[in-house]
């Protein structure tokens, strides 16, 4: 990420903790995510990835500490944030037309009987064009494939012209081609519009080329680090609780590979779990406040 894109931090957590039903999900989260970056939230099932995103959105309140988003307390900058929850479009009433659905991203929060202005329609139209569904305005959501539905959901979030886009598992249940297309849309949003993007992701591989950093939920604490620091086989093995390797491909991209069942071959950059825990307790991997 070029230094000139980096302004104030978009998301700042200070000693944040969250509990639900008396159980602490994660605690002592202190990190800052720079404006204009693409960040993943990674961790195992139940580590609290979605919980973290909802806390940043102000949908869940913290049990301690603070979250500031776009220089305001969580939940106060609603107009400036676009949110696409997990499997959003598969749960909504699919009889609606794509155009009407996207338009709700502009006028969905407005009370009172005022007609939608041409400018607002234009915002919706541009959002659909950007995500490549400009010609599907009249189609019903139910007629679209999973990949196109996800693009419609992103278009709805974009129609409100947000500065920060938050997506929960945007690649889940999509085929490889659709995954690539969604990643391409996110890459363009970040590159061309300078949008700050945060993505909850199970599988980092597809997103790796566009990620600047990642928040990883390790042993009950969220940490932020640049993507090169996160791409460490020892850390990832500990994070996922299963053997993970980092390899460099001819394209220069790094991939995470769960080892096959076969005996290990070649050289691995492996740390023991205790070594990693020790490192991150001493905060060596949390120093991302650039």
């Amino acid at each position: 990420m070029p230094a000139d894109k980096r302004g104030k931090d978009a998301i700042v957590l200070t000693d944040a903790s969250i509990a639900r039903g008396g159980r602490t999900i994660w605690s002592r989260g202190t990190f800052a995510i720079p404006t204009g970056s693409v960040t993943a939230i990674v961790g195992t099932n139940g580590a609290g990835k979605t919980t973290l995103m909802k806390a940043e959105l102000g949908l869940l309140s913290l049990s301690g500490g603070s979250v500031r988003v776009l220089d305001r307390p969580a939940g106060a900058a609603t107009r400036l944030i676009g949110y696409v929850p997990q499997s959003y479009t598969s749960e909504v009433d699919a009889d609606l037309s794509v155009g009407q659905y996207v338009l709700l991203g502009v006028n969905g929060t407005r009370f009172g009987p005022r007609r939608t202005s041409p400018t607002e329609r234009d915002h919706a139209r541009r959002a659909m064009a950007f995500t490549g569904i400009g010609d599907r305005s009249e189609a019903r959501l139910s007629e679209l494939s999973g990949g196109l539905r996800q693009r419609a959901a992103i278009a709805q979030a974009l129609a409100g012209r947000p500065r920060l886009l938050m997506l929960d598992e945007p690649l889940a249940n999509l085929d490889l081609a659709s995954q690539r297309e969604i990643v391409h849309v996110l890459a363009r949003l970040n590159r061309e519009l300078g949008m700050t993007i945060q993505v909850v992701a199970h599988d980092l591989n597809m997103l790796l080329p566009i990620l600047d950093g990642a928040v990883y939920l390790l042993d009950g604490h969220p940490h932020y680090a640049g993507i090169h620091e996160v791409m460490d086989s020892g850390l990832l093995t500990h994070l996922y609780g299963t053997q993970v390797e980092v390899v460099t491909t001819p394209q220069g991209e790094m991939f995470i590979q769960p080892s096959a069942d076969a005996p290990d071959q070649g050289r691995h950059d492996l740390h023991s779990s205790s070594e990693i825990v020790n490192e991150h307790r001493h905060g060596r991997r949390t120093g991302a406040q650039a």
Partner: protein, 280 residues
């Protein structure tokens, strides 16, 4: 009784004052049911809406027991039930077991109240299956006032209500007060049920509120158009029911429900056919 016995005096029947009142009431009910049916489907609250009518039943029979107007008791109980379900959140309206249990208990309670007095017993069938031909002038005025209030309320909250109906989390993240939206929806729904029960009764209300909206959803994709089509579907069902019941000795409720179901079946069949044709 021969169902196919044709009454040659049907035109005279249609011109009578009670029929005129029923026709006006039918139009007013169609407006309300058409508008709210769309939201009921969008919110996946069809079962909660159905349950509201049944929660209103003990109110209706209880009102008769106390010598109060049926609509007052029905409306009060439906509104009370609506506010409780609404306060529990939209998720609660999807809790089918709890809702179904309350529905059954309320129906039982309604029966109990009806047995306590002979006049309530006599009205029981009208409350369960509707009696649009006995609608009073006072009720028609009440329906008109409710329609005006409903249209005014929907004009005010249309966008946020639609947004929160599609997905509460996204709407909430964008700053829509989803708790308030849910209470408004449920309160309006209680009102619609109160005015629609005289037409088809608590048992058949699904066919007047949900079925036409489902038909409209098949035919058009825009919410406003769907509400208009749904209202029209309701109007055709109710007026068709009234006219046909003047010609043939069948109760209006039966014909209303039949027409509504028939239109839904045709729309379903038509869309299946066109989908098959599109596939080649």
């Amino acid at each position: 009784m021969n169902v196919f016995f044709f009454d040659s005096h049907w035109l005279e029947t249609l011109g009578s004052p009670f029929m005129l009142k029923a026709l006006i009431a039918g139009a007013l009910i169609a407006v309300a049911a058409g508008a709210m049916g769309y939201f009921t489907i969008a919110r996946h609250s069809t079962f909660a809406a159905h349950a509201l009518a049944h929660i209103g039943l003990p109110g209706a029979t209880g009102a008769v027991l106390l010598g109060l107007p049926v609509s007052a008791g029905l409306g009060l109980f439906a509104l009370g039930g609506a506010l409780v379900i609404g306060a529990l959140g939209k998720k609660a309206s999807e809790r089918e077991i709890a809702t179904g249990t309350v529905l059954a208990f309320a129906t039982g309670l309604g029966l109990f109240f009806a047995r306590l007095s002979s006049s309530a017993s006599q009205q029981m069938q009208a409350i369960l299956f509707g009696s649009i031909l006995t609608v009073t002038s006072g009720q028609v005025v009440g329906f008109a006032i409710f329609d005006l209030a409903l249209v005014a309320a929907l004009a005010l909250v249309y966008h946020p209500l639609l947004f929160s109906s599609l997905d509460e989390q996204v709407a909430q993240a964008k700053g829509v007060p989803i708790g308030v939206m849910n209470l408004i929806y449920m309160a309006l729904m209680a009102g619609v049920i109160t005015i629609a029960v005289p037409a088809v009764g608590t048992l058949l209300i699904f066919a007047l509120i949900v079925t036409p909206a489902a038909t409209a959803n098949i035919l058009v994709a825009s919410p406003i158009k769907a509400m208009a089509v749904s209202g029209l579907d309701c109007l055709v069902s109710i007026w068709g029911g009234l006219i046909l019941s003047a010609m043939f000795p069948a109760p209006p409720s039966f014909i209303i429900v039949t027409l509504s179901t028939l239109m839904w079946g045709l729309a379903m069949g038509g869309s299946k056919l066109s989908a098959r044709r599109a596939r080649g």
